[in-house]
Structures are given as C-alpha cells and as structure tokens.
Symmetry: C2
Subunit: 365 residues, 2 copies
C-alpha cells in the first residue's frame, strides 16, 4: 500500500493532517488488518507502534510488515499482559484495538482463553487508558458474528445481537466495554462490526479464521476448493483496503464516539459463485461442494450480509475495490509470497521474543 | 412460604410432580431470590442444595433459610471455585443459577471481579454441566439492566441489548453462554431477565443492589426516604413470590429451552408514587427528592418497565401479588427481622466456613 491513492483523494488531505506526526498503537498489528493499517498509517506519516503476541495460529506474521520494517516499531506483547500494555499505551494519540482470538471453533473448545483475550484484556486495555491515557481515541474491531443467525437481510445495526458461539458473545462484550468506557469515562471509542474481510496478508494457513484464505491456498496448491453445505449461502466480502479506510475514518470523526457501525462488503455473493470467480480469475483449478463438518455446522449462520449504510451515509467512506479486483490482488500476493511466508515454516517465527520495544530489522526473518 | 397456596392451584399439581423427590441446586441460594426459591422447593418436596459464597455485601444471609434449616443442605462455596462446583453439580436434576455480582457501581469500580463471577464462573458452570451432568436443566437469572436506556416502553425481548455498565455487559454474556450451550451442546437452559424484584429476604443493608431495600430500611429506622432525580422515573417491581414461580415454570417447560424471557412487574409506578405508597402502608415516615449522586447518574437508565407478555402468553404464569400487597408483606418482614438480621451485625456471618457440604443447624446464627 502506498501513501496516496488517487481514488482516496477526497479524504486524503484530512487523513494526512489527522495522522501525520501522530502516535498510533495497533494491537494485533502483525495480523492481517492490523498490518495493512500499519502500512497505510506509515504512508500517512504517523509514528506507528505495532503490538502483537505472535501466538501461533492467531495470524500475526512478521512478513506482513515487509517494506515498512524500518519505519514502524514492533513490540511483541500479549494484550493480556497488563504491565506491558500500560507502558505501551501511554502518550499514544490513537489506538486501533485489533488484537483478538478470532476462531469460532477455538472459542468452543477453549472458552476461557477466548474470554481472557476478548473480554478481560479489553477491560484491562480500557482501564489502562482511563488511568494513563484518557485522551486516546480507540477504534475497536468487532465482528458480524455478534448477530448470529440473521432474522432479516441485509443485517443493519438495529438487528438483535444473538451470538451462536462463545467468540461472538465475548466480542459483543468487548465492543460494549468500549462503548461504556466512552459514555461513562469519556475515553473516546467506537466499534466497527466487520464482515468477512479478505486481501493480501490474511491468514491462509488453514480454515481456522476464514474459509476464503484456505480456499486461496487450496487453489494455488492445485487442490479442489471445498465448499461446505450446498454452496448457496450468501455472504459479503470486504477488501482489506476498504476496511482500513473505515478504521481511519472512524478514528478521525468525533461523531463516531460511543457508536457501533457495520462495515460490510460491496454486495453479497453465494459461496459457489465465489469459488467459481476465484477459479475464473486464477485461470485454473476447481471446486466441489461437500457436506459441513459437524463442528462447523453447529455454529454456521447460513446467509449473511451486512447493511452498512449507517456508516456510509454519515461518513466519507465507500467500497472502492470490487470483489474481482480484490481477489485478483489477493491471488497475486499469495502466488508470490504464500508458499514461502504464509503456509510453510513456523508462523510468525522470528527467533526469541524480545523483552522490550525494538526496531524490527529487515533481516529478522 | 408454604407448599401450597390457593392462588397457585392450577399450576400446583404439575409443579409438585416436577419437583417432588428431585434434586435441585441453587447457586446464590442464601441470597434474596435463591433462598425464597429454596423455601418454595422444600414445600414442593424437592431435595435442595443451596450453594452460596457468603461474600460480604453480596446478599447471602443464613437467616434467609429460617424455618427450613433442617430441610436443605447448605454448601458454602464460590461459583468461581471450579472443583467444588464440579462435585456439587453432579446428579442434580435442576440448577437455578442465581449467583452473581449484582452491583452496577461495583462493576465499574472493580470490573475484573464482575467479569470473574458473571462471565468466567458462568462458563465454568456450563463446562462442568457439559462434562459431568449434561441432563441437568438450568434456569439463569439475568437482569433488565442488559437493555440499558430504553428506546421504547414497555421493553420487550425485541429491544436491543445495550448495557450502560460493565455489570449489564457481563450479565448479557452470561445469559448468552447459557443459550449457546443449550443450542450447541444440548445442555437445556433458559434465561429470565428480571426487573426490580422485591420482597422479604432482599438485601436492605444499603443501596448497593436496590434502592427499594434501602428505602425500606430508611423508613423503618425513621429516616426520610431519599428519592434520586425528580422522582418521576417510572419502574416496575416484581414481588419475589411471583419471580420464584416464573423460575419454576421456566424450569419445568421444555419450550423455554434456549430462550430468553422478560419477567417484569405488574404495572409501572413513579419513584415518588412508590415512596408515597410505602409511607402510606407503613403509616408513618416521609420522603424527599434529592439530586442524583454523580456515580449513580452516570449509569442511571431513566424510565424502565418491562413487557413480559411473551412469557405470560406461552406459559402458565401471571403476577399474583399487587405492589401494595407485596410492600405490606415486605415491611412487616423487615419490621420483625430487619434490625436483628439484615442491617446490624456482620452480614451472612456464621462462624468459620465449612470445607464440605453440611446440614445447617438451626442454631448456627
């Protein structure tokens, strides 16, 4: 990602003035969305501190910072680590709070870890801000998973929150902590309920977080894509560049404070059509429709797509990358870097973990 | 409370056959609603195990079991104590899950304890049931606090959950854990969102849990009742006997499984009218309207009253005790027992805590 893209020109001056020279901390900053945000913020002239636990399987990957290694500070720490966070949060102007346990299946097999990361650590981040940096502005990344099985489509923010797994419950609690701390203590915060986000730097190692990443890997490795169910489920997909812009706009607009917004994809597509589109773009490969594994079936939500008009109407944000454009970029990225940096070798491995903040050397992996 | 009350005759035979000889565990069973439930279940012939932590300020009080001391088993344990709970839950037919941190103010000053009790312990109770007693039926006591400031009145179950304090957030998570474990693992569970419950055995020591208890104490002690705000806030109040019947009906109807129901009061009343009614029933005393203390104002929700037609329509439950009747009973109870057992002396004190299940001797306090 570069600092200025022509199609963003309208919002660009204000974003540049909002972030140039400002201090920004990104939790989960070695992950998919966090690292993409780091690239963008570096381009806008911000002083970026990336915090990530590099817990295996969670999506953090040092390679995600390729190209900006010398322009960001990386601190390896877990958001459950109260004392580290206390130090790191001080003096920051913006906090993009993206660290989380994101696997629905893991949240059922180990609900306590999900609770510690998605609830307790969120509380402790907010308590830390309240005590040590009450003027920070926070954007919290929530998920459409909080809605569960939709009563109607597309799902807007008036839809009941009715999660179908422990992860959805804890993410809902996490977003409300932010809203309560905004309303009660004036720690400016808002939450974005993200839909299926995709793009370069997403986790593609397996289907733990998103099936689309796994599909991309299957396609590039010459395996048939496995579509669960009947393939008729409709979903919306948001390109990570668009999601990152939504985060920046939420951060810089005071009218977002204390509010929760959907950030969805451009338009819904059936999973079968998505598989077909991927194969078409890639120019080879195949897909097949297979029954749901039982553990996934139990927490599947069927059709889902978001109504994000509330955010689009009130703030200068829109989808700018079509599904075809986004998938094309994504496939090209993983063709180039996937085998070496995303599905082989130990994820996120970069030698021993440092004890203190440090510059990430370009040679570190 | 006696076993058979004429006004319950229609539901009585089925409740008796449902509970006679059955094993029932009540967490928070020395508290207000839990102990009232224990009295009722003893009357129905159930084998009752009361579990309570007797944490000072939480409302557990051994005196609440006066009259049934020899007919229930009391086990002092904290729901955060995983191993104790594992032992206690085994073999139970019903679990009334009433243990909780209920203070909104405490949840803001110490959000972690609220999280441990209202989230983590709930998860561990459910995990314990899943592994050691998957056939138990659970009724979880939630709260109207999950709704926050109402968009419309009366508030039905279609209203968005939008808590205004950490307690409301964690209670919402707690109820959803129950629903998810019902839906995913088949651990039969439902949740009742209780409104302001009042009656004999409620905590009246201070205004930590409910202002009504505090008012009753003020009245009996000859102090003017302090009504916060302008006194025009309207609320509904549910008599504990009616709430207990709702719990029993929820426990015995399979159609409740996986569902969340409001259980409200008979009809709303303004706080000023409530104070006036109390003074009228008591025959002496006074009230005065005073400004909100700032910590309470920040989490006050204004007018609130529940629409509980969903539960009333589908199940054989209705309000049977008017506000005047209920307040009359409550005042009589605290005139008799308040000074000795509810506002003087160390709350819940009964000497050293036992390490194992034991019969509570009538002489224990």
């Amino acid at each position: 990602m570069t600092a200025v893209r022509p199609r963003r020109q309208a919002a660009e001056p204000s974003l540049h003035s909002a972030f140039a020279g400002r201090k920004v901390i990104i939790t989960g900053g070695l992950g998919f969305i966090g690292s993409t945000l780091a690239h963008r913020l570096v381009g806008l002239g911000a002083t970026v501190l990336v915090v990530d636990s590099l817990i295996p399987e969670y999506g953090g990957n040092l390679f995600n910072l390729r190209g900006i290694e010398s322009r960001v500070t990386v601190n390896i720490a877990d958001v459950r680590d109260v004392y580290s966070l206390r130090h790191l949060v001080r003096g920051q102007d913006y906090l993009f709070n993206l660290a989380g346990q994101t696997s629905h299946l893991d949240s059922m097999s180990d609900p306590y870890t999900d609770l510690e990361i998605n609830c307790r650590a969120q509380l402790s981040i907010l308590e830390t801000c309240r005590k040590h940096n009450a003027r920070v502005k926070i954007v919290y990344a929530s998920t459409r998973q909080v809605y569960g099985v939709p009563d109607y489509l597309p799902v807007d923010e008036r839809h009941l929150v009715r999660p179908v797994d422990v992860n959805g419950i804890n993410k809902a609690a996490g977003e409300w902590y932010h809203i309560v701390y905004n309303n009660v203590y004036g720690i400016r915060a808002c939450a974005l309920r993200l839909t299926n986000t995709y793009g370069p730097r997403m986790r593609v190692r397996d289907a733990r977080q998103t099936f689309l990443g796994w599909w991309i890997r299957q396609l590039i490795e010459g395996q048939p894509i496995q579509v669960y169910g009947d393939g008729a489920q409709r979903r919306d997909f948001a390109y990570v560049g668009d999601v990152v812009e939504a985060c920046l706009i939420a951060a810089t607009h005071e009218a977002c404070n204390g509010r929760i917004f959907n950030v969805g994809g451009d338009s819904p597509v059936s999973l079968k059509d998505l598989a077909r589109l991927l194969v078409d773009i890639y120019g080879r490969g195949s897909y097949r429709v297979v029954p749901f594994p039982p553990d996934r079936k139990a927490i599947d939500i069927g059709d889902y797509y978001a109504d994000d008009r509330l955010f689009r109407t009130h703030f200068p944000w829109r989808h700018t990358t079509s599904l075809r454009q986004g998938l094309t970029k994504t496939l090209a990225y993983y063709e180039a870097y996937g085998p070496a940096y995303y599905w082989n070798g130990e994820e996120g491995s970069a030698g021993p973990r440092p004890h203190a903040r440090r510059r990430l050397a370009a040679s570190s992996r």
